[in-house]
Assembly symmetry: C2
Homo-oligomer: 351 residues x 2
């Protein structure tokens, strides 16, 4: 049976959830997937670095005491030697799941670049490298004959990018439109029950939907990164965040909500990328009062959704979780499955 | 460039729309798809049969005067010799788009069987053969080394079956739940505005959503066929319509609608197939008052949707058109693309 060796860069919630899936499912997972998975390296800001080319005991790592580091394990040190580990690991797939840096994408961009340059495929859930350096990184992947996969960069494990590339063959997609941030969508929903924006944000924070600093969610910069990814990936654009006009929901008042409801409408924070008549891709993030019959109007709470406008089929929509530890770990697993399928197809073709 | 020759069985709205796509797009379509399409046979109850192994002039056929038959064309006769044409055509793909017979699936079942037995792949949008004889017909296809594809049997071109088989790798789907009939969904939506069931049905008929006899839509037997397909295709069951408990929307009153609305709920006609704790697939069609946060609650008007309950990703939903001439013709095109891809993969593997 074929096997993939993984290096996990960042061992927070998402990569930890992936390790749990691999550990808990054991050989059953390999039977289901048709290939085995083994983790041979882990790096983490707090835990340090761990390399074991014959496979790390994930049970031991997942059960480590609070405050312990990898220094206590064979092949482990207390400091995260990301670049060294990425370049020298025996892994064939690097799983990048560090934090998103919306300014320059670092250090994730460097992690992805180092992995691709050293001939390894990469899966990431990190919007930064994809939105800010996607073109460059895809070029390196192509030149190296490896894969760069990032389904989880938009809507966690809900297969939006793969839906567009695989499930709509023969269709021309003219626009992509989505509810791409669960926090702002939750807040707007709560405002519909009479809550103020500030109270709704506080509630979202208490529930763990919103960050301590909710600006990226409320002001639309999180959605902005995702719109860049959708525009470039699905409409074949080559835009950056600066090309996406952005307005968040902080200007939406109780009166706006009530007025829209009287018209049978709901305010939603909508990210859009659309090919205009001249063939240019125009991208925006802005609150829109949608009529209740709009495919995105019914997307409630922390759910996310993307609608695709097509020539022969009209509008088709995929909705599902946009966040969550296990949901995002599944995005990584689906990328690994895609990398494996691609390698198999290549092996068939060059036999 | 590879080419597929098609035999169109039934030349009503759907196959006519497919012929329009092929005719109107011309060589551009071949460039986009990577293979050419040619129609070499057409049969129709009213028009008769037409066979031209070097390709039928679709412009001439689409422009035929009302009341004319194929008898006036080279290779044409005024009677539909379906079985003869299906077995003797030089087409490699038979496109079955006759009417759905919910009792025994005929004559479509015989059409599909004849095509598969004579070594041709089949695409159909017809629920009858798939729901009532799917297991048998798939077995013949496998034995013959050809494909039997039927994406359009559930939600026209909206890719529900292919989403389940291709876009959710590594996930265990425990339940499938859908709004699978646009007419009943439209009627329920109109009842929410205060209309009676009878008036809403009459309006749906006037708009062309509902048939002259709306029983199959209103009493859920159309959904029942689709639930059988979803259960067998996605949950690996082997059930028939008799296994699907069915209740339509004719018992839903204005009071039910008002009462649900007061609770923030909406009545929807829901088709469900679910694997129970014992591993058995239980399937039902019934009206359900869904809370507004349910992924299917916001599906309005003639739209359709299917939700998939999965282990790692929770619930994911695909929504889109459930009917329409061009939308259903696209289902056929997407099946043809899948047949082509499968043949290519097979050719690669056996090189």
């Amino acid at each position: 049976m074929n096997r993939h060796d993984l290096a996990l860069i960042g061992f927070g919630g998402v990569n930890r959830a992936l390790a749990e899936i691999i550990h808990d499912r054991g050989e059953g997972l390999a039977d289901e997937l048709g290939f085995a998975l083994r983790v041979v390296a882990i790096t983490d800001l707090r835990l340090g670095s761990l390399m074991q080319s014959d496979g790390i005991d994930l049970g031991a790592v997942l059960g480590m005491a609070d405050g312990a580091t990898f220094a206590g394990l064979t092949g482990g040190v207390a400091v995260p030697q990301n670049d060294y580990v990425i370049r020298s690991t025996t892994a064939d797939i690097v799983v990048e799941a560090t934090f998103t840096n919306p300014v320059d994408g670092e250090p994730a961009v460097s992690h992805v670049r180092a992995a691709l340059e050293s001939g390894k495929s990469v899966t990431t859930t990190n919007k930064g490298p994809v939105a800010l350096r996607g073109t460059e990184l895809n070029r390196i992947a192509d030149a190296q004959g490896v894969r760069f996969e990032y389904e989880g960069s938009v809507m966690s494990g809900t297969p939006v990018l793969r839906f567009a590339s695989d499930a709509l063959p023969g269709l021309r997609v003219s626009a992509v439109q989505g509810i791409l941030n669960g926090t702002s969508n939750y807040v707007l929903g709560r405002m519909e029950t009479g809550m103020t924006l500030a109270d709704a944000v506080a509630e979202a924070q208490a529930l763990g939907y919103a960050e301590a600093d909710p600006t990226a969610d409320i002001e639309g910069s999180d959605v902005q990164l995702k719109v860049v990814i959708l525009a470039n990936e699905i409409l074949g654009a080559d835009i950056t965040t600066a090309d996406v006009e952005r307005r968040g929901i902080s200007g939406i008042t109780q009166e706006d909500i009530v007025e829209a409801a009287a018209d049978g409408k709901r305010w939603k924070l909508i990210g859009t990328a659309r090919r205009d008549d001249a063939g240019e891709v125009v991208a925006t993030v802005e609150p829109v009062a949608l009529p209740s019959t709009h495919p995105l109007a019914g997307i409630s709470g922390p759910m996310n959704a993307v609608s695709f406008d097509t020539d022969l089929l009209g509008t088709v929509t995929v909705s599902g979780p946009g966040a969550g530890r296990m949901e995002t770990a599944y995005a990584l697993l689906s990328d690994i499955i895609a990398i494996d399928a691609h390698q198999r197809a290549l092996a068939e073709a060059t036999r």
